[in-house]
């Protein structure tokens, strides 16, 4: 037990969750809710919060009992722990944001089957101490939620021409007038963005954008390295450009 593990580096855990190993953009886990309920920002935030809470709590709990869990029942035990927290999240949403609970419907209980959560519990929390596990769950959740919210915003703007509509479902009457008619009042809506194909398209474009950014960073890093003077370049064929 307690072998020194590079993943105890808190900065790296954060970077992994938010960007490098983002559950939605890199691991491509939890795509079902990602694609199904991101028709608007409020849905995305609601599901993002619930998923983040469950991720953090289940990582914490799994990490706490990791030495008591025999290898043979590790997965079932993890699923039971996750199901407990999902039930808590569901009851909480039912109590405090009932309308949003109705909108999200089956996708709240379905957080149990979100493979991002079981993936983190199994790949990280069952092998690491409590604090890194909690942070990992939190950061993975925040990374997942961020992608949910971006997809929700893009789909809402293109599909309905608004942003932050129905925020009162989550934040109460304070947010009733937050709807921004970004594309004007008489925008008739581009329905494909709100329908499931729109979710696939936006998610795909986001993944492409992330890869492009990573490639750009990589290129800049390499560009700095390769033109060091005195490096030996052997001319083989053709012209040097």
């Amino acid at each position: 037990m307690a072998t020194p593990n590079p993943s105890h580096n808190y900065r790296e855990i954060t970077h992994n969750g938010l960007w490098k190993n983002n559950p939605a953009l890199v691991q491509l886990l939890g795509l079902c809710p990602l694609l199904a309920v991101t028709g608007s920002v409020v849905n995305a935030i609601g599901l993002g919060l619930a998923t983040t809470a469950v991720l953090a709590c289940s990582n914490l709990a799994v990490s706490l009992v990791r030495h008591q869990m025999p290898e043979t029942v590790r997965l079932p035990a993890s699923v039971m722990i996750i199901a407990t927290f999902v039930t808590c999240a569901e009851l909480l949403m039912k109590a405090f944001t009932y309308e949003l609970y109705l909108v999200l419907g089956i996708f709240i209980p379905l957080i149990v089957t979100n493979c991002a959560i079981l993936g983190r519990a199994d790949a990280f929390a069952s092998k690491n101490p409590v604090l890194p596990s909690l942070l990992d769950g939190l950061m993975m959740g925040v990374g997942f939620s961020a992608v949910l919210i971006v997809i929700g915003a893009v789909r809402e703007i293109i599909g309905r021409g608004t942003l932050f509509s129905d925020m009162d479902l989550l934040l109460g009457p304070v947010a009733a007038n937050w709807t921004l008619p970004i594309l004007g009042q008489d925008y008739s809506g581009f329905l494909v963005a709100v329908l499931p194909p729109g979710a696939f398209l936006v998610a795909g474009l986001l993944i492409a954008a992330k890869n492009a950014i990573d490639a750009g960073i990589e290129q800049r890093r390499n560009a700095g390295v390769s033109v060091v003077s005195g490096s030996k370049r052997v001319r083989t064929t053709g012209k040097i450009q």
């Binding site: 008739s188 809506g189 581009f190 329905l191 494909v192 963005a193 329908l195 194909p197 398209l201």
Partner: protein, 350 residues
């Protein structure tokens, strides 16, 4: 792009992509002419808008991808996509319909997958379906044949229909397929007598039957020029005919329409000869083409008869595009001198 395993000697047909595409475009002329005669010049404006947008999108993406722009524009594949989409769109629809449709077709369905020859789905049909599910109101308003209304929109009216905000409702009527679909309380013979769309036409609705006949002629030209094989179209039309005979029941109120209605209305002939025969998104072997065409015919009838949409060629073709690689895998032609391979994946494992 049919990479068939046939042995040498190979005789070159003298064709190139651009020549093929131009002949396909020429083959649509009779059908487009019929559309213009019966439904007015709106379809030409659609085609022009689609062509401009499609070529513009193609050029922009080629520039982004750092490819030679003129080379790829000159294969005319974007032009044919735009042409087929423009024909499929309702005449006199607002200008942004063809524009959004062509951008979706070229950007989403073609270039995101790698461009010419790499698209798993028929780009024109993807453009059409994106429009149909996004703008159901605009996409289901077909103008009536000129004879049935006070006349086609004039020049000024055409302009304000397409670029202004004039409503096209004054010029529209239900299409033959919609009429049959929505009148399930009268027997077909009565319907044909009552409806001006049918009693001024011959078998499948005024205008529509001629347009379909035009596309049939164009298709026969393509067959004659050996640009397409008979397998896809014949399989699709035969399946559609067979199913409509089975469910015709002599024309009761619950009948799904006569075989002739199914063959010569909606987008049947355009689909059979110009969409099903797409060499990129369809099947590769002749046996595969038979299965592909039959699948399209089956789906067209099922969706027309029991689905939520009056016509179904675009959905049917896209669904079969999904199945095309699978069909190809199991319909590998036998190479001369070799034993028949059961499926292509077996060969790869060797």
């Amino acid at each position: 792009m049919s990479l068939m395993r046939v042995t040498s000697p190979h005789a070159h047909s003298g064709q190139s992509t651009s020549k093929v595409m131009l002949q396909v475009a020429a083959a649509t002329v009779p059908g487009v002419l019929a559309l213009v005669v019966f439904f007015g010049p709106g379809v030409l404006i659609n085609i022009a808008l689609c062509a401009l947008t499609a070529l513009g999108t193609e050029a922009a993406i080629m520039k982004l991808r750092g490819r030679p722009i003129a080379f790829y524009l000159k294969d005319y594949s974007a032009l044919v996509t735009a042409l087929l989409l423009g024909i499929a769109l309702p005449p006199y629809c607002p200008w942004w319909i063809p524009v959004i449709g062509s951008v979706s077709a070229i950007l989403l369905a073609k270039q995101l997958y790698g461009g010419m020859g790499y698209n798993p789905f028929n780009p024109a049909m993807v453009g059409y379906v994106v429009l149909l599910i996004s703008f159901p109101v605009e996409m289901t308003r077909w103008v009536a044949p000129a004879e049935l209304i006070q006349g086609m929109p004039g020049l000024g009216e055409t302009f304000s229909l397409i670029f202004g905000n004039m409503n096209v409702d004054g010029f529209t009527r239900a299409t033959p397929l919609e009429i049959v679909r929505h009148n399930q309380s009268t027997i077909l013979a009565q319907l044909y007598e009552m409806e001006p769309m049918f009693n001024t036409g011959t078998v499948a609705g005024l205008g529509w039957e001629m347009a379909n006949f035009g596309f049939l002629l164009g298709g026969l030209f393509l067959l004659f020029r050996r640009l397409i094989t008979w397998h896809g179209p014949v399989a699709m039309l035969a399946t559609l005919t067979l199913l409509s005979i089975v469910f015709y029941d002599g024309g009761s109120s619950l009948s799904e329409g006569s075989p002739l209605l199914h063959l010569f209305s909606g987008a049947t002939m355009l689909g059979a000869f110009f969409i099903v025969t797409d060499p990129v998104s369809g099947c590769t072997s002749n046996k595969g083409r038979l299965i592909f065409g039959a699948g399209v015919g089956l789906l067209v009838f099922v969706i027309r008869a029991w689905g939520a949409y009056p016509d179904a060629v675009a959905f049917a073709v896209l669904l079969m595009n999904f199945a095309a690689p699978f069909i190809d895998n199991y319909t590998l032609p036998r190479t001369y001198g070799h034993k028949a391979a059961r499926k292509a994946t077996d060969l790869e494992e060797q």
